[in-house]
């Protein structure tokens, strides 16, 4: 940020400044031409939809268009808040997300720390490469593989359970398993890839810090605790803020795939509800209202946690 000068801007100074800007623009006209397609892309597919948000407060009718449709105020929002399963949906959305964060934030850090303690470089790189292979599997295939594993008749997991004398569990029939299945299968896909970022951050820690700690007689654990962890703290903070900011988004494409009529009580989240009411049932305005509610809560959480991180004297997004 530039420091504002207290001097009053004279008319002459202002026009000189304007001329300077004009010269800059003209000299770099090529850069503006280069960025133009990208700029128009953002205008069309990211800012134009913002204009369409107003249908959340209207009764959108395709024939009348966005502007022509009548205003109805907060009707769609109150309808959403009054649906008898509103609290279930909100609980599921937050529950799945928070559970996912509690598991998903520390796990890759721990894995990266473990990788980092392997001395043989070649072995380390092989196990790390294997660990993020699941990241490249599509979500459809990932859910397909999950279903193979939990099938009550042929699944490997039930095979293990029966082998040890238990009786097979029909995981998909009982809604109470849904959150666990979702979160832990998600961890399977994400842990290796997320750990990669921490590994990169650890590589940036100056080796003399470790040497100094060693000379001071710090044990392996103490070195991890006092050197490695503080070294990757900024990365941990940035990634945590980002994921907390996405807390309302869940992994909606995956939830949709895993959802059945049987587990709906635990699997319906705001975004799947928005998808069904909007795309399947074509209640555009209502669905837009649900989506807006979701986005606003998300945005507030992001700003809130960023502010907390800043207060705590840690890294923040802005």
């Amino acid at each position: 940020m530039e420091i504002q000068t207290a001097r009053k801007p004279s008319a002459e100074g202002f026009s000189r400044r304007l001329a300077e800007i004009g010269k800059q623009l003209k000299r770099n006209i090529g850069l503006y031409l280069i960025i133009a397609p990208a700029f128009f892309y953002f205008v069309i597919w990211h800012f134009w939809p913002l204009y369409g948000i107003q249908i959340a407060f209207k009764d959108y009718m395709p024939a009348l268009g966005i502007t022509g449709s009548p205003w109805v105020g907060l009707e769609h929002f109150t309808r959403f808040f009054r649906t008898f399963f509103f609290w279930d949906i909100l609980r599921n959305t937050l529950g799945i997300s928070v559970y996912g964060l509690i598991v998903g934030i520390p796990a890759p850090i721990i894995l990266a720390l473990m990788f980092n303690e392997i001395r043989r470089k070649r072995l380390r790189s092989v196990v790390q490469t294997i660990s993020y292979a699941p990241h490249f599997i599509s979500v459809v295939v990932a859910v397909g593989i999950l279903f193979f594993f939990i099938s009550p008749t042929t699944g490997v997991i039930n095979g293990i359970i029966t082998r040890f004398g238990g009786s097979p569990i029909d995981f998909m029939a009982n809604p109470s398993h849904f959150w666990h299945l979702f979160v832990w299968s998600g961890l399977w896909q994400s842990i290796g890839w997320s750990s990669l970022i921490y590994t990169a951050a650890m590589a940036g820690i100056p080796p003399d810090q470790y040497e100094a700690a060693y000379i001071d007689g710090a044990s392996r654990f103490r070195r991890i605790w006092h050197v490695t962890l503080p070294g990757i703290m900024p990365t941990i903070m940035i990634l945590s803020i980002m994921s907390i900011g996405g807390v309302m988004n869940v992994g909606f494409e995956k939830v949709l795939l895993m959802q059945t009529d049987m587990n709906l009580a635990k699997s319906e989240v705001i975004s799947t509800y928005m998808y069904k009411s909007g795309i399947v049932e074509a209640q555009y305005s209502f669905s837009a209202a649900v989506g807006l509610f979701n986005n606003v809560v998300n945005f507030i959480l992001l700003i809130l946690f960023n502010a907390i991180a800043k207060r705590a004297g840690q890294t923040s997004l802005w």
Partner: protein
């Protein structure tokens, strides 16, 4: 570090750590391994053993079955088309967006950066975006799959960081002295120097297109335009649901069920094949992409 003498405690620590890491790695790898092994096994014998660690009765019947399936070919063709066109657009647009933002002389850099990154945190949402695509008249066409996601802000930032750190200003200045325009500079000098990051971008975007299903689920209505992932969804997810609802079990039915199970495994392998083959070769590039991105969160 390697010169430091190890105490017995340290040695024990290493042994425990290594064992745990290997165990975790096996757990992470096994689901993929299982599917590959099951796909080449005799479907009736997959479940004979406790844990599949070797193909049971080597058998490629299910691969034959999926290649006789017309849907799979349609899906493959469409996915290849969408991935190629989509990735080309992605990379081109990302370069155009990232390059000016990486130049200090670009007046208004911060405004553009703010506008672009803002979209990462607040969006119009599903329906308003749908309505935009509807007004553009691109529903049920390839364009609705390749244009709305033309630039990922995350990748844009990675690319900008690369340009910022790897393309020296002096290079530009000497090019300008020779009377080079910005456009020529970008394509003749900057891009040839940026091949590593362009490779990373091709991989990131390409994998994204290959694996995506949701956009096609919303926007594509003609079956002959479906990408592979939508057919996979029908076979893997919808069928699984029916199986799990548990229908009557007679001898023939269970035979058919088994054959169908075998098909599922081979279809997973066949659809992930390009990535499974390329993955070990490309892993270096992926890691590089993450490293470049990690420089600036």
């Amino acid at each position: 570090m390697d010169t430091i003498k190890q105490t017995p405690g340290e040695k024990a620590f290493e042994a425990v750590n290594l064992t745990l890491v290997l165990l975790i790695t096996i757990i992470l790898l096994y689901p993929l391994l299982f599917v590959i092994l099951a796909s080449v096994s005799d479907p009736r014998r997959i479940y004979d053993t406790f844990l599949l660690v070797w193909p049971q009765g080597f058998n490629l019947e299910s691969y034959k079955a999926i290649f006789e399936n017309g849907d799979i070919w349609i899906g493959y063709r469409n996915t290849i088309l969408y991935t190629t066109v989509g990735t080309a657009i992605n990379v081109f647009m990302t370069i155009l967006g990232a390059y000016p933002l990486s130049r200090r002389r670009f007046y208004g850099k911060n405004v553009f950066t703010f506008l672009f990154t803002f979209t990462m945190f607040f969006s119009g949402g599903l329906i308003p975006t749908y309505l935009v695509n509807q007004s553009l008249g691109i529903l049920n066409s390839i364009w609705v799959l390749v244009l709305p996601g033309a630039i990922s802000v995350f990748n844009l930032i990675i690319m900008r960081t690369y340009f910022q750190t790897q393309i020296p200003v002096e290079l530009e200045e000497s090019a300008f002295v020779d009377g080079c325009s910005d456009w020529r500079l970008l394509f003749k000098i900057v891009l040839p120097l940026s091949m590593p990051i362009i490779a990373v971008m091709i991989l990131f975007y390409g994998v994204g297109h290959w694996n995506s299903y949701f956009d096609s689920l919303i926007y594509m209505t003609d079956r002959d335009k479906f990408p592979l992932q939508l057919f996979l969804r029908e076979i893997l997810i919808k069928n699984s649901m029916q199986d799990m609802l548990g229908v009557a079990v007679d001898e023939q039915y269970s035979q058919r069920m088994m054959a169908r199970e075998g098909i599922k495994y081979s279809i997973v392998v066949a659809s992930s094949l390009p990535l499974l083959i390329l993955y070990p070769l490309l892993s270096k590039f992926f890691e590089k992409g993450i490293l470049v991105g990690a420089i600036k969160g």
